[in-house]
């Protein structure tokens, strides 16, 4: 059977990836596939990510939106913020619906039913979709290597439904499903699922990376690398949620940097050609986890021992990244060197605001 060869796009990689959000980069495309006017909260991390991601991808793009904040808060009937085709799908259908779109374009282009360059096909799944209910569907799409990019916009909770714990909620994170109390002083007892590494380890032929809204050019480059990769790519992006994390609205980008500087969100890439992790990304500072925790109400109930436990966790991540631990961080992993985050009464007051 005669068939038409599928032509694919190649997007340029931007310079100076480690710059902050306030750095002006003239190479950024002017197109805005994700426009203002939606109903997300002020300072919404996921929507900042959405804008950067779609900007990096450009106009020949199709977006898939499983149920989550970025479905509910963005789209309203007869008024959506997407200048490119967008479709809602079920929260458990992130990978599978996206695979259907990708397969359709492969077949339609090959069979002469659609003419043009293969579009960027991007799925924007929240961490509830990506780490819990849609995990198998995403694994299926990565395993089968459809030419698409699946993004987990990781706000570490089910935020759309009113802040419930997901498999990505950090240890100690207060949510409405993991509230602190006399019997469970730390709130969330479990550590988060190591989702991105799981995706890299299980689907080594895919481009897999982590990123944060604190490093916009790095994020946009990873979007483009993922789209340029012939086959499936996966990106997990730290996207703070002021409603669930309880922080001052203008600090979203700061939080996106501090979380990396505290070792709680290692930024890395999996290279599918070399079959190895690239841990060379280094933040400008290295800080103890308490500097990240104290910015957020969701950690306001933690005791010294919990903070030390989190520091131990962060120290393991630094070791994984090949960073030699400063003495201060080793000391910080000892509860004796930590203080309680807040008095119980204060913690309760903070909990009221969640």
């Amino acid at each position: 059977m005669a068939s038409i060869e599928v032509q694919r796009q190649v997007l340029p990689i931007l310079a100076n990836p480690n710059q902050g959000a306030r750095f002006y980069n003239p190479e950024l495309p002017s197109s805005e596939p994700f426009v203002p006017g939606h109903r997300t909260c002020a300072g919404c991390g996921p929507s900042i990510q959405y804008r950067m991601t779609s900007k990096a991808a450009g106009d020949n793009t199709i977006l898939v939106g499983p149920t989550g904040c970025m479905y509910v808060a963005n789209s309203s009937y007869l008024c959506t913020p997407y200048n490119v085709p967008w479709a809602h799908t079920q929260i458990g259908s992130a990978g599978s619906f996206t695979a259907g779109v990708a397969a359709a374009y492969e077949a339609m282009i090959r069979k002469g039913k659609w003419r043009g360059h293969y579009p960027n096909i991007i799925c924007e799944a929240g961490d509830g979709s990506a780490s819990d209910i849609g995990l198998a569907s995403i694994s299926g799409a990565l395993y089968r290597n459809h030419d698409c990019l699946i993004i987990c916009y990781d706000n570490e909770q089910y935020a759309n439904t009113g802040i419930q714990a997901s498999s990505r909620t950090p240890y100690g994170g207060m949510t409405t499903f993991s509230p602190p109390g006399p019997e469970v002083p730390e709130g969330k007892k479990l550590f988060p699922k190591d989702l991105a590494r799981m995706m890299a380890a299980g689907h080594p032929h895919c481009y897999v990376a982590t990123a944060s809204v604190g490093y916009p050019i790095d994020l946009m480059n990873k979007v483009r690398k993922g789209l340029n990769h012939r086959g499936a790519a996966y990106l997990m992006v730290y996207t703070p949620c002021q409603k669930g994390f309880v922080y001052e609205t203008p600090r979203s980008i700061d939080l996106g940097r501090v979380v990396v500087e505290c070792g709680l969100y290692p930024i890395w890439e999996w290279n599918p050609e070399k079959r190895e992790f690239d841990y060379s990304f280094r933040p400008q500072n290295i800080r103890p986890v308490s500097e990240y925790l104290k910015l957020q109400g969701r950690f306001g109930h933690l005791h010294a021992e919990h903070i030390a436990t989190m520091q131990k966790f962060a120290n393991e991540q630094w070791k994984m990244m090949g960073v030699e631990l400063p003495e201060g961080l080793i000391q910080a992993a000892d509860p004796k060197n930590q203080v309680n985050m807040a008095a119980a009464a204060e913690a309760e007051a903070i909990a009221e605001t969640v």
Partner: protein
């Protein structure tokens, strides 16, 4: 560019599963979403081989679950591809979440179902509960009674579902094993006939970067009912298209189906069986046998259950004295405490000036064949009711009563 190899009309001996696969090939589907579960699996096995042989150019996706199968189908159909998927039994249930979103977004996905009893306890045999439990989700739905009819129904369903006046997904059902795994002669058409009958799929608003659209945004409560009404109207409005397409199918392929009902020996019948699917074939044989004994019995076989042909069912069934509904499905706690077909039949008959007596027979359960003596037994129950002028009880479990 024709992507299906030109073929001449020929008769082959194949089973229902392979007939369905052949129909998907003739329809030149672009995306196939597979996941194994007996007995429908044989359809996907046949399609996999066709793709491997280069007989069909399609993306063949082995999904990670039925939920994913239907999501893949939804995504591909939304992008403008013609899509084929399928399942059986609990597999149909696993995908349940997707049925309403697919019909609600008006994507003409096609799903082949070879029925299988739901769990417990892991019965392979055919009961229609799997597909019937989804009957109100906005999918066109009907049963074939043999492999030829299954083949034809797939082409007919694509044509109806993709019609811009309809734009609804379709469940094309056949009994597991009785139809899916029994071979019979099937006439495969000349590819030019299919080209004439089934134009390429073209959705009016696909996900196409050159014409951006948003599919399925959130709505305010007051915006929901108009959309529901549109979907209801599409289902109701499909009835005229269904009649038109069956007529055209007959003209092109020479097989003329009544889109709604098959009537068998009903001219002078006083009691009739009302059923759907493969048991229609055994019923025909049993009726011939009973006719030789002088019993005035016939059969009405429902071919399309969604949209339900209420007026036709009313007109046809009200001619008889007693209607025996053969359920082949479970409707636990239903109005008859039997299956679910009884309630639809009674609702259709409600406005008839003269209503027949209606009895529900739980027969063919678990994929058991309904044997001749059971047809005699059920006929006897109907004749007794006719003589008495009232039914003994609404539901009989055939084989469990004297």
């Amino acid at each position: 560019m024709p992507t299906v190899t030109a073929t001449k009309k020929k008769t082959v001996r194949i089973n229902g599963c392979v007939a369905s696969a052949q129909a998907a090939k003739y329809a030149d589907v672009d995306v196939i979403a597979a996941y194994p579960i007996r007995p429908y699996t044989a359809t996907m096995m046949a399609l996999a081989q066709m793709v491997a042989n280069g007989e069909l150019d399609a993306e063949y996706i082995v999904a990670d679950s039925e939920h994913s199968q239907l999501s893949i189908a939804h995504g591909a159909s939304s992008s403008g591809a013609r899509v084929f998927t399928g399942s059986s039994g609990v597999g149909v249930q696993f995908a349940y979440e997707l049925y309403s979103p697919i019909s609600g977004s008006r994507m003409p996905v096609q799903m082949m179902i070879a029925d299988r009893t739901l769990d417990p306890p892991g019965d392979f045999g055919s009961e229609h509960t799997d597909a019937l439990s989804t009957r109100d989700m906005g999918w066109l739905m009907g049963w074939a009674c043999d492999a030829q009819e299954a083949f034809d129904n797939h082409l007919i369903a694509y044509r109806i579902g993709e019609d811009r006046r309809v734009l609804l997904p379709q469940m094309v059902c056949q009994d597991g094993f009785f139809v899916s795994h029994i071979t019979s002669d099937v006439e495969l058409p000349d590819s030019s006939q299919v080209r004439e009958f089934l134009p390429p799929y073209k959705h009016p608003y696909p996900l196409d970067p050159r014409h951006p659209v948003s599919h399925g945004p959130q709505i305010m409560p007051e915006q929901g009912p108009p959309l529901q009404l549109e979907r209801a109207r599409a289902m109701e409005g499909s009835m005229a298209v269904i009649e038109e397409v069956h007529k055209e199918f007959g003209e092109i392929f020479g097989r003329h189906y009544d889109p709604w009902l098959e009537e068998y020996k009903t001219d002078d019948a006083e009691v009739v069986f009302f059923l759907q699917g493969g048991h229609g074939v055994t019923a025909r044989f049993a009726i011939q046998h009973m006719r030789e004994k002088g019993l005035k019995v016939g059969m009405v076989r429902l071919r399309t259950i969604r949209p339900y042909p209420t007026d036709r069912v009313c007109e046809v069934l009200s001619k008889f004295k007693v209607v025996g509904v053969i359920e082949t499905n479970m409707g636990l706690g239903s109005p008859s405490s039997g299956g679910v077909l009884y309630a639809d039949a009674c609702a259709a008959l409600y406005e008839a000036p003269e209503r027949p007596l209606v009895i529900s027979f739980m027969a063919g359960m678990g994929g058991e064949a309904i044997v001749l003596k059971e047809f005699y037994w059920m006929t006897e129950k109907m004749i007794q009711a006719q003589k008495r002028g009232k039914i003994e009880k609404r539901t009989h479990w055939v084989g469990f009563e004297e």
